[in-house]
């Protein structure tokens, strides 16, 4: 698995892609710093941070976009430039190809997103370490789950980014916020629920729209395993270009 992981890290760690990831991750930090500077020290600022910056921008926008940019390329580039044969024509089982591809996205996107989210939370929420840990763990779960979904998408279609954008903004953004119950089938819903479940007081603004913590953990785990399994299945069944 080591050689494929190193290969994947080099493939995904291109200068421009990393610059984009860092820029996006830095955006909420800069906005949180502004909130802190211009804060009125009332609870509306904290609610605003949670609803707009944490939920709307970080969890609803930046996290899926960053993971999408990385994970769809994990296999997408190899399918496009026809180098997938270098991996699948070797005596290694398919899951040992899929797992490092999946991990590479997490290893590159995870620290940047979690770091940015935690720093933004510390600055914007002025909460204790528990809230920062809650946001970090929630984002980690979200990155893993999205990575599984988008890695699969990158393998099944060369229009993966288009499909991923539609999925993120239509399903995760619009439908999940309009129709009650959809949060049980939403990565955004799992992420927010894990954050809220780990620090209910600091993230109280989320309490009206999150599912309970165990359900969120089970949901994120099931979705991750399901899409990882679909990726392996696809590798087994596909005609290698």
């Amino acid at each position: 698995m080591g050689p494929v992981l190193w290969l994947s890290l080099r493939q995904l760690g291109g200068r421009w892609r990393l610059a984009l990831v860092l820029l996006l991750a830095a955006l909420p930090v800069a906005l949180a710093a502004m909130i802190r500077i211009f804060s009125n020290d009332d609870s509306s600022d904290e609610n605003g941070f949670v609803n707009v910056l944490l939920d709307g921008l970080i969890v609803g926008g930046i996290m899926p976009i960053v993971v999408m940019a990385l994970a769809t390329a994990a296999f997408g580039n190899e399918v496009e430039d026809r180098t997938l044969g270098y991996l699948v024509l070797k005596p290694i089982p398919r899951w040992k190809i899929a797992l490092p591809k999946f991990l590479a996205t997490i290893f590159i996107g995870g620290p940047v997103l979690i770091g940015g989210g935690v720093v933004a939370t510390v600055l914007g929420l002025e909460a204790g370490p528990q809230a920062a840990v809650a946001v970090g763990v929630g984002l980690f779960a979200g990155v893993i789950t999205y990575a599984a979904i988008f890695t699969w998408m990158g393998l099944i279609s060369n229009l993966a980014i288009a499909f991923a954008l539609i999925y993120v903004f239509l399903w995760e953004g619009l439908i999940a916020s309009l129709i009650p119950g959809i949060e049980y089938f939403s990565v955004r819903g799992y992420t927010l629920a894990i954050m809220h479940g780990m620090d209910e007081s600091a993230l109280d603004a989320l309490s009206t729209r999150v599912i309970d913590l165990p359900t969120a953990i089970v949901g994120a785990t099931v979705v991750t395993l399901l899409f990882f399994g679909l990726t392996v299945r696809r590798l087994l069944r596909m005609d290698v270009p």
Binding site: R10, L87, P91
Partner: protein, 317 residues
């Protein structure tokens, strides 16, 4: 040896690669149609025009593609998703893309690691020596010429010393000198007892190295065997060729005088239909006669579609 539209090959000994009644279709497009063949140790050339189904057949043999019908075995085992079998198979694809951030050596090492080699360094050294790229092994692949890239890709294919080598258009992009070196290397590998299947759409490339040729036409195995035997068999068969000119009667009269022509007829539309047992001679005669009689040739084409490609390979020699 046969040159009918579908050639069914049978061999008395146990083949290394066995293709049994294999068909492959993509939607409504039939890429391969009921192909059966056996491949034994040594060098076998897979010849056919672009679109004949060569790459599809090689992908089926290497397990990259699933058969729509039929069965492929290598060493008597199903190859698709049979990972352990890849210890014994090396595949060089027609696509020249490499990881540009790797040096040549790193690329071969990567292949060696994926093959789980114990003595990686010596295997990499040996593979790079074989392709003659020791001096440039630490240069980035992105700086290689096309021919060098092909040879380093071959080194990565050879690093685990596979018993079966499947090479898809390996000589494309090489200059004449590199081609000769590449061909020498392939012949040496075959001499070591490896089973090598090499594809090309250029007859000379395959004929120079392969003792045995498989001729694939429009998704069917049209012929198999020694090249000269194939050509001799082709010459025994009568073919219809349509010739369109601005003076059909003059051309027809001239054609009748040549030895290559069995009969000539002129259709209602003015097209000449020639029946010939020696298409090679006919194809030489037609332009000569047109020049002699100052006739303008508009079209010369075989009426049997399956022969169109044979024209390219056999007749043009």
């Amino acid at each position: 040896m046969n040159v009918t539209s579908t050639y069914q090959e049978v061999s008395p000994t146990e083949p290394i690669i066995a293709v049994r009644g294999v068909s492959k279709w993509f939607g409504s497009v039939v890429a391969l149609n009921d192909v059966s063949l056996n491949i034994h140790p040594g060098l076998t050339g897979l010849l056919g025009p672009n679109g004949a189904g060569k790459t599809t057949l090689l992908h089926l043999i290497s397990g990259q593609t699933k058969c729509s019908d039929g069965e492929v075995t290598v060493f008597g085992q199903q190859v698709r998703n049979n990972y352990q079998l890849y210890h014994r198979i090396g595949f060089l694809s027609e696509h020249e893309t490499v990881y540009p951030f790797y040096t040549g050596r790193q690329f071969v090492e990567f292949a060696g690691k994926l093959n789980g080699l114990d003595s990686l360094a010596s295997a990499v050294d040996h593979a790079i020596e074989r392709v003659g790229l020791v001096d440039v092994q630490n240069r980035s692949l992105g700086t290689y010429s096309r021919g060098m890239r092909q040879r380093m890709r071959l080194a990565a294919t050879l690093v685990h010393d596979p018993e079966v080598l499947i090479l898809d258009e390996p000589l494309s992009g090489t200059d004449p000198r590199q081609r000769v070196e590449f061909q020498d290397l392939i012949v040496r590998l075959a001499g070591e007892g490896k089973t090598i299947l090499i594809s090309s759409h250029i007859l000379e490339e395959v004929e120079a190295v392969a003792g045995r040729i498989l001729l694939l036409m429009s998704g069917k195995l049209a012929a198999a065997g020694n090249f000269r035997a194939i050509r001799a068999k082709l010459d025994e068969q009568a073919y219809k060729v349509r010739i369109v000119t601005d003076a059909p009667r003059v051309m027809a009269a001239a054609l009748v005088q040549t030895d290559a022509v069995e009969s000539v007829s002129i259709g209602a539309d003015g097209d000449i239909v020639v029946l010939s047992h020696n298409v090679a001679a006919l194809m030489k005669s037609v332009p000569r006669l047109a020049q002699e009689h100052k006739i303008r040739l508009t079209r010369v084409e075989p009426l049997d579609d399956s022969l169109e490609s044979i024209f390219s390979y056999i007749v043009e020699r």
